[in-house]
Structures are given as structure tokens and as C-alpha cells.
């Protein structure tokens, strides 16, 4: 480990101090990555890998969730669909608004507005999920009950809307950074050619900021997929298969959180819950990986460096 860190220059105290710092940084990195790897390994083990894992994995995405039936049915299809619907709604709302806020704070807003807006957005990110849950329960849930004449106002749509507000600070600040950097780099050179602001934005800024916008979307998506409490409180948390935006649902995180406490260790249900957690984890990891590859490809195609 140490060998490859060696530097050909000198053997004085400076270089040994350098080596110690480098070693400590490497140690920090290894422990960080190590925790990630151990988590995945742990999930694999607890999902009962080896003992009918493939069948369980297939069932995880297709079957119904009826743990009390005989024999128990442990499919989680409804949860994956709920997660996809809620996250999809949240992204569809938070991306355009978040990019708009990002553009506003980076370029359009006068400096004093920017000084107020930026920390306000950061505060929004710090509000606990349970508060968002309560907020949604006393607003959207009530309104939906009355507005759509539902017996219970907890819906996929409501959970998606509140989740979009939770994603917003991440999307807005990351896209804001991307826009800010692009404007700083190109504003003067582009406008000096006598073109208008819209042309500059459309043909230069948007392309330059594109990787940052993708990163913003991924951050938002990862936040959305992992969010548990607020969506649990607002989606209705029922195991029925959601068939419309106004039906109740149960995202995968809510299912795991609800069920794990009352599940016997190493039972079939226990393994199934861990299989769900494993796939959720792999999904987020793959999404990150795929998009970072895509980002580079698209960026190279558009811009190249």
C-alpha cells in the first residue's frame, strides 16, 4: 500500500511528513469505500444468497405482498411501482423548478437577493423529513380528500409533490453551481460578439452546464429513491398495487421500514426484505455509475476537452 505512494524526491523530514499525510488520507478513503463495500456484502449475505436467491430476486419484482397468506406471498412489485411513480412525479416537478431557481440565483437575481436565497435554500435541505411529512399531511392530504372526494387523502401524487420539495434544494444548488460556472467562463466572450442573452444561454451556457444539470438530476433522484419517512406518511403505506396517481401506495423504502421490525431473523420474509434493500442499493449505485458514464459521453460529444 505504502510502496506505490513513494516519491522519488528526497528523504528529508518534509517527504516523510508528506508520506504520513498521504497515508492518512488513503486510510480515510479506504475506510469510506470499505464501509460501502461491507454494506453491499452484508446485504448480499442477509438476503440469503445461495439459497434460492435468483427465484427470490425474480419474485421481488413481480409477486404480490401477502405475508400472512398460506403459503406467504412475498412479492414487492407494488412497492417498486410506487417508488417509480412517486420519484417520477417528484423529478418532473423539481427539475424544471430547480433549474429555474438555479438559473435565477446564478445569473438573474441581483446580488442581495442571491445572498438571501442561497442560505434559504440550504435551510430547506435541513428540514427533517418528518416535518415535511406533517406539513404534507395537514395540507395536501386534506386538500386531496376534499378536492378529489377521496376517503383518505394520502396519495402517490401527494407523496410525489412533497418529495419534489425535498429534492428541490439539491437540484437548485447543484444546477446553480453549473450555471454560475458556465456564465463566468463565457459571458463576456459570447456577448462581445453582439448576440443576445437567449442565444448565449441556448447555444453555449446550456451545453457547458449540461453535465452539472445531469449531476443535479442524479442527486435529486438518489435523494428521492432513498427518502423513507415523508413518503411513508403521505403515500398511504398500503400494499395494494397503485393503479393511478390518486391511489394509495407504498414505496419500497416504506415497505422495508414498516416490515423489518416485526420479522423473524433469517425467515423467508427477512431474506426477501433484504433482497429488496439490496436491489434498491444496487439501483442507486448503478444509476450513479450509468449517469456518470453517460455524462462524460454526452459532454464529449457536445463539447470535448
Amino acid at each position: 500500500m505504502q510502496g506505490q505512494q513513494d516519491h522519488p524526491s528526497g528523504h528529508d523530514s518534509q517527504s516523510s511528513r508528506d508520506r504520513i499525510v498521504r497515508f492518512l488520507c488513503l486510510l480515510a478513503l479506504i475506510s469510506g469505500v470499505g464501509i460501502l463495500i461491507l454494506t453491499i456484502v452484508y446485504l448480499f449475505i442477509e438476503s440469503g444468497i445461495g439459497k434460492g436467491f435468483l427465484l427470490r430476486a425474480l419474485h421481488c419484482f413481480t409477486g404480490e405482498w401477502r405475508p400472512l397468506a398460506t403459503p406467504p406471498q412475498l412479492g414487492m412489485a407494488h412497492a417498486w411501482v410506487s417508488t417509480a411513480m412517486i420519484t417520477g412525479i417528484a423529478l418532473a416537478i423539481s427539475l424544471p423548478i430547480g433549474f429555474g431557481i438555479g438559473l435565477f440565483t446564478s445569473e438573474i437575481a441581483p446580488p442581495f437577493v442571491r445572498r438571501i436565497l442561497t442560505p434559504a435554500l440550504e435551510l430547506l435541505a435541513g428540514i427533517p423529513a418528518v416535518v415535511y411529512g406533517f406539513f404534507g399531511a395537514v395540507t395536501l392530504v386534506k386538500w386531496f380528500e376534499v378536492g378529489f372526494q377521496l376517503s383518505s387523502g394520502e396519495t402517490i401524487l401527494g407523496a410525489g409533490i412533497v418529495l419534489s420539495v425535498m429534492m428541490l434544494p439539491f437540484v437548485a444548488s447543484t444546477s446553480g453551481e453549473a450555471f454560475r460556472a458556465a456564465f463566468q467562463e463565457y459571458r463576456e466572450s459570447v456577448l462581445a460578439l453582439g448576440v443576445d442573452q437567449i442565444t448565449m444561454f441556448r447555444r453555449v451556457i446550456l451545453i457547458r452546464a449540461f453535465p452539472g444539470l445531469i449531476a443535479a438530476a442524479v442527486l435529486g433522484l438518489a435523494r428521492g429513491l432513498g427518502e423513507t419517512l415523508a413518503v411513508l406518511m403521505l403515500s398511504g403505506n398500503t400494499t395494494a398495487f397503485p393503479d393511478s396517481l390518486l391511489s394509495r401506495g407504498q414505496p419500497i423504502t416504506a415497505l422495508l421500514a414498516t416490515e423489518i421490525g416485526e420479522t423473524a431473523v433469517n425467515s423467508e420474509k427477512y431474506h426477501m426484505l433484504f433482497t429488496g434493500a439490496l436491489f434498491l442499493m444496487l439501483l442507486v449505485l448503478m444509476l450513479n455509475l450509468a449517469i456518470s458514464i453517460l455524462k462524460k459521453r454526452v459532454y464529449r460529444g457536445l463539447y470535448a476537452s
Binding site: E188, S189, L193, G194, I207, R208, Y303, A304
Partner: protein
């Protein structure tokens, strides 16, 4: 060399003052700049040379806190700062080439035609011809003709700078302002750009900011010597550089300072 009749100057600058916040950067500049000649602006760093270019190209307001706090600039006898043609047309006619070349995130061809596309709505068939014309003008055509669709940022720095000059020329400007266009370049690229400047002066006026006295001698007929936000000396380049009167300019020209 000396012209016998004096036509209306391209720019007439009177008592021009510019501030960045509370800091005064230009303290009353007075000069005339002729059309179709090369004017060099010389002087140490931070004395307001680039600021003057920004005033002429109407991009000063893009710099935070910067504003013209007094004086007038006339362009063809009309007030440049509130010209009836509007800011965008002025920026098109008075092009600028920055110190650090900055290709836009698009192909070489689209880079060249970026401003021209906007101003003239070039049809895509003509785009290639036009791009070729300006790339030939800056001597880049043979180097890039097989990769017009590859990104501008893949070129070497010297090529990028010529690409940026082609981009400004495609706007068909009447004046080209150049802000130390060779300071990031190797001697070979510098020579190419100097040749280009000498060729271009037959068609357009050029104002070049430079630190390099030898370069000013090679390319310019007139020169302004800036010191601390004022013009310490101005006139024909050869005269100013051979027989400077101002003691600080003397010191710099003789190589004692600067």
C-alpha cells in the same frame, strides 16, 4: 507615412473616466483613433488598457461595479455609449479578441460562424463556404479543413486564438480590438498573428493592447502609452518608442522598468 489630410477619426475619446466601485481606473483619457490603421496601447499591468477596450466594445457593464463616470466617446461622430444602433450592433461592429482564447462548446465551423449566424442568419449551405473564407483569412483552413466538425477546444492554443479571431472577423467588424492576443502563445503562433494583423489593417482598424514593445513596433503605426489610468504619451509608434518625453515612459522603453 504621415497622412496629409485628416478625415474624421473613428473614435474621438474626450476626458473618459471609468470607475470600479470607488476605485478610479481611467482618469480622463483624451485621444483620437484613426480608421484602417493599427493602434497599439502600451503600458504596465493594471493601468486601464483592457478597461478602455471594454468601453469601446460596450462590454464594460459586464464587469461587476464598473461604470463610465465621465467624459465622452464618439464613434463616427456619434456618442458610442448611447449609440442609436444599440449595444448589440456596436458589439458586432467593434469586435474584441481576448487575451485567453476561448472556443465555445461547439464544432470548429460553428465557432467561426457563431456571431455571423446570429446577425445574418446564414443558410447552412453557405455556412461551410463562409467558415472556409474566415478560416483561410486567419491561415487556419489547411490545418482544420478535415475536422471542421470536431470541437474547437481540441485545437492548440495558438490555433484556438486564430479561431477566435476568425469568429470575430466573421461578424465583419469595422474595428477589431485585441487584448494582448499573443501573451499566451509561442513565438511561432505570435508571428502568424502579427502577419495577420498587418494583412487585416488594409480592411479594418485594429487596436491592440500589448506588453511587448517590439510587437508594437512591428505591427502598429500609432501608439498610446498608458500610465496609471492616463495616457502618458501618444503619437506615431516609432516616435513614441524612439524618443519618449515622459520620464517614466523613457525608463520603460529604455528597459530600466516595466
Amino acid at each position: 507615412m504621415e497622412s496629409t489630410n485628416t478625415p474624421t477619426p473613428l473614435f474621438e475619446i474626450r476626458d473618459l473616466q471609468v470607475r470600479y466601485g470607488d476605485m478610479k481606473v481611467l482618469h480622463g483619457i483624451n485621444t483620437d483613433m484613426p480608421a484602417k490603421e493599427v493602434t497599439a496601447i502600451l503600458g504596465p499591468s493594471g493601468c486601464g488598457k483592457s478597461t478602455l477596450l471594454r468601453v469601446l466594445n460596450r462590454t464594460l457593464k459586464l464587469t461587476p461595479m464598473a461604470r463610465v463616470s465621465g467624459g465622452t466617446v464618439k464613434y463616427h461622430g456619434e456618442n458610442l455609449l448611447q449609440h442609436p444602433l444599440g449595444e448589440q450592433q456596436i458589439r458586432k461592429r467593434i469586435g474584441i479578441v481576448q487575451q485567453r482564447p476561448l472556443p465555445f462548446p461547439m464544432s470548429i465551423r460553428d465557432n467561426v460562424m457563431f456571431g455571423a449566424d446570429y446577425h445574418n442568419k446564414t443558410s447552412s449551405g453557405k455556412k461551410n463556404e463562409q467558415a472556409q473564407l474566415y478560416l483561410e483569412k486567419v491561415g487556419l483552413w489547411n490545418e482544420v479543413k478535415d475536422r471542421l466538425k470536431s470541437p474547437g477546444s481540441r485545437l492548440s492554443i495558438g490555433q484556438q486564438q486564430r479561431l477566435c479571431i476568425a469568429r470575430s472577423l466573421a461578424n465583419r467588424p469595422e474595428v477589431l480590438l485585441m487584448d494582448e492576443p499573443c501573451s499566451a502563445l509561442d513565438p511561432d503562433s505570435t508571428a502568424k498573428i502579427e502577419d495577420l494583423i498587418l494583412k487585416l489593417q488594409e480592411e479594418i482598424a485594429i487596436v491592440i493592447v500589448t506588453h511587448n514593445l517590439a510587437q508594437a513596433r512591428r505591427v502598429s503605426s500609432n501608439c498610446l502609452f498608458f500610465l496609471n489610468g492616463t495616457i502618458a504619451e501618444q503619437g506615431k509608434t516609432a516616435e513614441v518608442l524612439n524618443n519618449p518625453v515622459h520620464p517614466s515612459v523613457q525608463a520603460i522603453v529604455m528597459g530600466k522598468e516595466g
